[in-house]
């Protein structure tokens, strides 16, 4: 009879999905520990070099980075706005489906006479963070063109915006 009892307990303990449940519980515990969700912004910069930037398209991904003893940071995009230069001051094109997700394709063009050259901030992405970990972002430039529509080699980069920077820019 003891043998039967031990067998039953071992089968129930080793049932499938036990690992998944444990991971979910850990994530929930982390979130509960982290308390309220946090917000931050990510600036997107495009460096067109000597050329005038007429159009750009980038893909931004928030990486859910799991850190030991801290937990996973879950990135959710909550809003987008334009950049510094008037040519790209309006909100860029993006898919509204990207909101509440961690991935967005951002694009804009300008037919204005005055276009930026060199490194310029073209957009700001607002994100909500869940969990206690620090997020990471991955940016890939997909297309860029000069004022005549000719494709150019451009570099794209991100910068996390602190609360103070964000308030200073908004004023």
């Amino acid at each position: 009879m003891k043998f039967l009892l031990i067998l039953l307990v071992s089968i129930l303990a080793a049932g499938p999905g036990a690992g998944d449940t444990q991971e979910r519980d850990e994530a929930r515990a982390t979130f509960a520990f982290a308390g309220e969700p946090r917000f931050e912004a990510v600036d997107i910069f495009v460096d067109a070099g000597d050329a005038s930037l007429g159009a750009y398209q980038v893909e931004l991904k928030g990486i859910e980075r799991k850190e030991a003893r801290v937990g996973t940071a879950f990135v959710k995009i909550v809003g987008l706005e334009g950049g510094d230069h008037p040519a790209f001051g309006d909100a860029p094109y993006y898919d509204p489906e990207a909101l509440q997700g961690g991935r967005v394709i951002v694009a804009a063009f300008s037919t204005a006479a005055d276009l930026p050259a060199g490194r310029t901030r073209v957009a700001r992405v607002h994100v909500m963070l869940e969990g206690a970990g620090e997020p990471a972002y991955e940016l890939k430039i997909e297309a860029a063109a000069d004022r005549g529509g000719k494709p150019i080699r451009a570099q794209a980069s991100t910068e996390r915006v602190t609360k103070e920077q964000s308030e200073g820019t908004d004023q």
């Binding site: 043998f3 039967l4 067998l7 039953l8 089968i11 129930l12 049932g15 499938p16 999905g17 007429g54 159009a55 750009y56 398209q57 094109y93 993006y94 898919d95 489906e97 990207a98 997700g101 991935r103 967005v104 394709i105 951002v106 694009a107 804009a108 063009f109 037919t111 997909e142 297309a143 063109a145 529509g149 494709p151």
Partner: protein, 189 residues
Amino acid sequence: MRDDTNNPTDFDSGEAPEALISDLKRLYQDDLRIPEAVDRAILDSLHEAPAPIPWRSAKRIWWTTGITAAAAGLTLIVWLQGQPTPQAPPPPNTADQLASGDMRQRSAFQALDAPSMLAESDAMVASVKEDVDGDGQVNILDAFLVARAVESGESLDPAWDMTGDGSVSMTDVDLIANAAVSLSRRSLQ
């Protein structure tokens, strides 16, 4: 020239050699007899009844079978609890979607996931249209090309009329740009 020493068989005559005939006769002689004692021993062993299984061994077999069956049943129950619940396919979006086009093809889509499959196929067709510069991908450069043409008053290609209203305007540019940043279309490429 024939050599009868090396080839003694006379095939032409249709008769086998005498030596072969006598050998074959000796081989097929019916003198294979099983001794009486061997025959009786085989029959006796067949008629013997099998030894009965001891009472304790029988009980052990029943216990082992029962425990194995219970364990198998419990494993099945636990495994079934871990499986995702199957969901019914969503209903089609509109009656028009099912009424138009190839009904046979549409019903096949419906069996899988009709709305998303139809949207995907429509997106694939549309993406070709929005690839204005013909580089094989829809991106912001397509929208930029049309926008510059619209603003400069250049001749406009009727193929750029995305809305189908008979003219090319900034509305068409917006449609191309929205297609360029669409996440659902990107997942198809």
